[in-house]
Amino acid sequence: MSVWQAFIELLRRDLRLAMRRRAEVANPLLFFVMVIVLFPLGVGAEPNLLERMSAGVVWVAALLAALLTLDSIFRSDFEDGTLEQLLLSAQPLSVMVLAKVVAHWLVTGLPLLLVAPLLAMLLGMKSEAMGTLMLSLLLGTPVLSLIGAIGVALTVGLRRAGVILSLLVLPLYVPVLIFGAAAVDAAASGLPVAGQLYILAAFLAMALSLAPVAAASALRISLS
């Protein structure tokens, strides 16, 4: 069997699993919406203030929603033993990890991306910035999934991993947050955004090449 076939088969398996537990897919999305609704209630519904905060709020909420879903990358596979089988398969583990992360992003990151403009509108974000918002999330959320996979791989064997996972992962999310939100802000002020987006793309390229390897070695440790 070629590596590519195995990659596709595992990706399809994870997508099929997600289809069979639809509630788990919908919940983080609901969380994303609710967090954004909380902000006007907390800081007041003054349009100028909300508009100025919108880029950061949408990005922070997306980041928290992504964090909430991370555990599902490896947790259930760990609990039923399929992760062991993955480690013992005759395929490179880092490629298998990548397949799982891609599936995870398609199930959790992509819906966030699609809902984001709607929520940004609620916060009064300028329509010129919407395209950049989508683009920055498109480049940034896969990085969140990839970095998150390392954190989950390190903590999957722990009984109570939730808080530790966020402690490990959140500091590493800072650069994505900074450049993601900055790109949207720049777009709203009519400034060029290519620089920020290129940097996000560079983060993505780096995470794609390094994170699966790191997550694979972390999984080997967690399962030993």
Partner: protein, 213 residues
């Protein structure tokens, strides 16, 4: 499909040592198993049977010593070793939401095709007719059989089994024993732990008691 009789099977643990936290489980332990041999690990609870199995299949690294497959350390030939080895642990490694057929198809794609098709394998473990039902509708024993069907869908020469008879009834145990006999007479190798008596009529049976070492 490779010719089973031609390739040799040889797994060797060379003076391995393992401790968990501060407790030494075993040290300077050497053991080997070749085609046509069954190695049965015995010992009380907590003597490290499962840990030794996990070391033998490469999930855990020994503190000292090494495990070799056909003379090559298993870290250096991981892909080749994994293609010829199948492990069934305490956990079934079966997704509850998927059907037996879907589960086995993924495993087969990951580890390479074997002698049996998936349908034949499910028939062999008496799960014919249940292939399209999500596994969580099956009983614990049927689920275990679906896990054991994995032994047949890949071309594994070495079976590493941790308590394979868990959840199985008398008929299930007899069934698995007959599968083991077939495997051993085809020059396959087997390493296992079991609380039950194992009745094998083919192959050479070796026993290792970890309580005594």
């Amino acid at each position: 499909m490779t010719d089973l009789a031609n390739s040799t099977v040889h797994l060797q643990a060379d003076s391995v040592e393992c401790s968990r936290d501060d407790r030494l489980l075993f040290e300077n332990l050497s053991v080997e198993v070749s085609g046509g041999e069954a190695l049965i690990l015995e010992g009380r609870n907590g003597t490290g049977k499962t840990t030794l199995l996990r070391i033998l299949c490469g999930l855990r690294r020994p503190d000292e010593g090494e495990v070799r497959w056909s003379g090559v350390p298993i870290e250096e030939c991981a892909v080749d070793f994994h293609r010829h080895m199948v492990y069934v642990g305490h956990l079934d490694g079966i997704k509850r939401e998927l059907t037996a057929l879907e589960n086995l198809r993924v495993l087969q794609t990951l580890s390479g095709r074997g002698r049996y098709t998936i349908e034949e394998a499910l028939e062999a473990v008496k799960l014919g007719g249940f292939e399209d039902i999500p596994v969580h509708f099956l009983s614990a024993g049927q689920k275990r059989r679906a896990a054991l069907a994995r032994l047949l869908v890949t071309d594994a020469r070495l079976w590493v089994l941790d308590e394979p008879f868990t959840s199985l009834d008398v008929h299930g145990i007899e069934l698995v024993e007959s599968l083991m006999d077939t495997h051993l007479s085809a020059a396959g190798a087997l390493v296992m732990t079991s609380h039950h008596q194992v009745h094998l009529s083919a192959g050479v049976v070796k026993r290792l008691n970890l309580s005594e070492s």
